[in-house]
Amino acid sequence: MTSVSHPAATTWSQDQPVKARVPWHQRLQPANLLWVFLAGILVVLIVAPMWTLVVSSFTDAKTGGWTLQNYVEAYGKERHITALTNTLKMGAVVVVLKLAFGVPLAWACTRTDMPGRNFVRYSVFGAFIMPPYLAGVGWILLAGPNTGWINRVWHSLSGSTEPLVNIFSFGGMVLVTAIGGFFLVFVLVSSAFEMINSEMEDAANILGAGPFKTAMKVTFPLVMPAIIGAALLSFLGAIALYGVPALISIPARYPVVVIQLTEFFSFPLRIQVAAAYSIPLLLITAAMLGLQKLILRRKGYVSVSGKGGERRIVKLGRWRWVLFAYCFCVVALSVLMPLFVLLLAAFSDSWTTGFSFSNLTLSNFHYVLFEHSSSQKALIGSIGLGIVAATVAITLALFIAYIVQRRLIPFSGLLAFLAVSPYVVPGIVLAIGFYAAYALPPIALYGTYTIMALAFITRFLPIAFTTSSAGVRSIHPEMEEAVRILGGGRVTALRHVVGPLLKRTLAGGWLLIFVPAAQELSTAIFLVGPTTRVVSVVLLDLSEEGELEKLAALGSLLLIIIVAVVAIGMRYLGRDFMLRRS
């Protein structure tokens, strides 16, 4: 019984049959090589950049030896510490604001008879499509201290010369950051509300609880984990956001971490110090997500993930108009107002002179499309990177999700862990990691589209993986076993059965990646080269040059392209595909 290597086998099979061994070439499955290949890709995308980031934070730039000097330099100055505490303070306030925006809107749209629920839903969706830095520009146009439209209306009404509102302030930064990110709160909390079966509330009612008591004791606790999860993600999104601070933080004299990081990246270039300075951001994120997992794991909350039963709508009576007024305010602040002024500025000769027909022009669009040195190329680059990142990330994630769900190899859980791990890495930190690992010789990818594509794929791999993973889980394994027993390998099963069955899910995931990838700023900021700029970076350049009309035109073009792609997606996938993701 030489071939029986299993130790347990010896206990019951005394007399084994003749040496039973299947020749290796009959056992060979080409798919096995694929798994090795995938693990290799994940090392390139995740392990190497993160490892390099951590290692370089302990490396002496001159000698290459081990040192703690980078940390001393990163945290030695009071200004640097202030930036860190400022960031945390801002993050905390943003969370409160995002919840105040997102939770009531989610409840109103899912559980009440408020009028205009679809209008609110679509507008919130608009907030997802509009990148935060464009909303920021919109608010600079609205509430800039001297030339902002709100202030000019105020000046002409009151005769005062003091601004009524000033976007270049702590409050302004918090507001703009919050309106750019409360979409996530809305989506997470909405789906939690949709999961609650009214029978749970009925059960409380029948036992004698009134509507208020039911809401406090049953409904609210059931969505609590979703709210906590959304709060943590909101915090992480706020502290890692680059676009809004880049526009507002410096004029507002409110230094934050991301801006400090760019300072380390300007001359003289100090990557090692930047790496050291970004480590707390990484640790905070990891800790927060760990905390979220801990909270969600507690028993009792699991029931929310059950199937959604029939839901009763709360009849609000006259209050429904009050609620609608609140929702309208949120939507107006976050989408309608900034979008309106942005479009208006895009068609204006000069946004400072106000609205008049003589001021209307198309020259801004002509300028950004045909005259500006890099904006046309940047548009193509952004859309191209969005397509590549979404396609590669989804394909890669599908293979990994398949291996993990089907437990094809030992330690496949490790692949899953790697695939979702970029989640804890803020985009700007990821960019530093990629820069440290691949930008410089001998690999020398700095300023190429390749390094950006790799970084974008990594950044969006977690979304791709969660989408694919849920999709694969929904397919009965016997669907594939039927392929295999009929003579097809695993790859055939993926191509002919799993792939086609997941078409819709994967297309939805593709769009969820394409939209943010085409707008991505924080991952791009350190990786773009002089000839490989993307739209988000060009927009920031234009803002520094004060060319806000041209900026508005380019931003509008980006929005139009993205909306077109999303509209096509909705046509084929149903309008709810993005609002209902888990």
């Binding site: 071939s3 029986v4 290597s5 299993h6 347990a8 086998a9 019951w12 099979s13 084994q16 049959p17 039973a20 061994r21 299947v22 290796w24 009959q26 056992r27 499955q29 009965h476 016997e478 669907m479 076993e481 039927a482 392929v483 295999r484 027993i485 009929l486 003579g487 097809g488 390998g489 055939t492 002919h496 059965v497 086609p500 069955l501």
Partner: protein, 356 residues
Amino acid sequence: MDGLVLRKLGRRFGAVDAVLDFDLHIKPGEFVSLLGPSGCGKTTTLRMIAGFIDPTSGSIELDGKILSAPSGSVPPEKRGMSMIFQSYAIWPNMTVSQNVAFGLNLRKLPSDEVKKRVGAVLETVRMSHLADRYPAELSGGQQQRVALARAVVIRPAVLLLDEPLSNLDANLREEMRFEIKRMHDEFKITSVYVTHDQGEAMVTSDRIAVMNNGHLEQIDTPYALYSRPKTRFVASFIGRTNFLSGNCGNHMIDFAGFSVPVAMIGEEVTGGGPITVSIRPQAMKLSATEAPRDKAINLQGSVQQSAFLGETWDYVFQSKDSGLQFRVAAPPADVFQVGAPAWLQIDPAQIVPIAD
């Protein structure tokens, strides 16, 4: 050795032996069922034959070639088998004919040959008129027929069926049993059928392997299994039965209240001492009067309970002398009131000694 041979096959999950020392030889063209309660290891065995699970001991051979061994196995796609799954596993993204043609296309057959074979097999399962439908547009029974067609069209070396009828309603199930039997008679494919339903197993199978707790209890033809169960588990799992404890002497077996000559029992009994026998409810007859006591054992007593099942009466008879109770099956015409005195005749040839 020709056919499918399982030798000392075993599969261990953690500390639990799902299958243990399983020996089975299925002859070419034979239809064998693996029958047992859930958790008995029958599906694990089937999936080992298919190659989805590797054994932890023993081996599987097909026509003398080793397919599975603890050291490694031929992957399912290289075994030339086919399988019908519990969930049917009809691919919803393909039409009926695309589903059926899939295995043929993998074999790179010329397209006119594929077309011919698909047409012929759909004819056999009476699905030709639905060839261009998608699975979502089919009923459960129709989906089952597609699964059947898809599995047999490739002319597999072995056809594996994993509780294929458990998701159908009772009437369809009855119909599909005969359909499967008919397909087997037509194509003579070596088949292994997993089920927990003894009716299905008896209709379809040449032989039934009864499994319990991961090991083989008995393998026999349906008739032998029913009339000559070898173990208590088989006797109680297949149909209903009465267990009687007795003591075996040199010439007579003594039960409480009556004795039977060893020679009259249908099977050879070796050795003396305590013995357990199984007597099927159909091996006994109830009558209102004492029958002539030539061959049969006659017991006096009364009817304790009765239930009418349509095709038979199910009576509980209690012996007056010993107080022993027997379940007896009687034709619908034999009506007894509860409490009525009656005589029970037992056919000694149908008394089967079993191992505990």
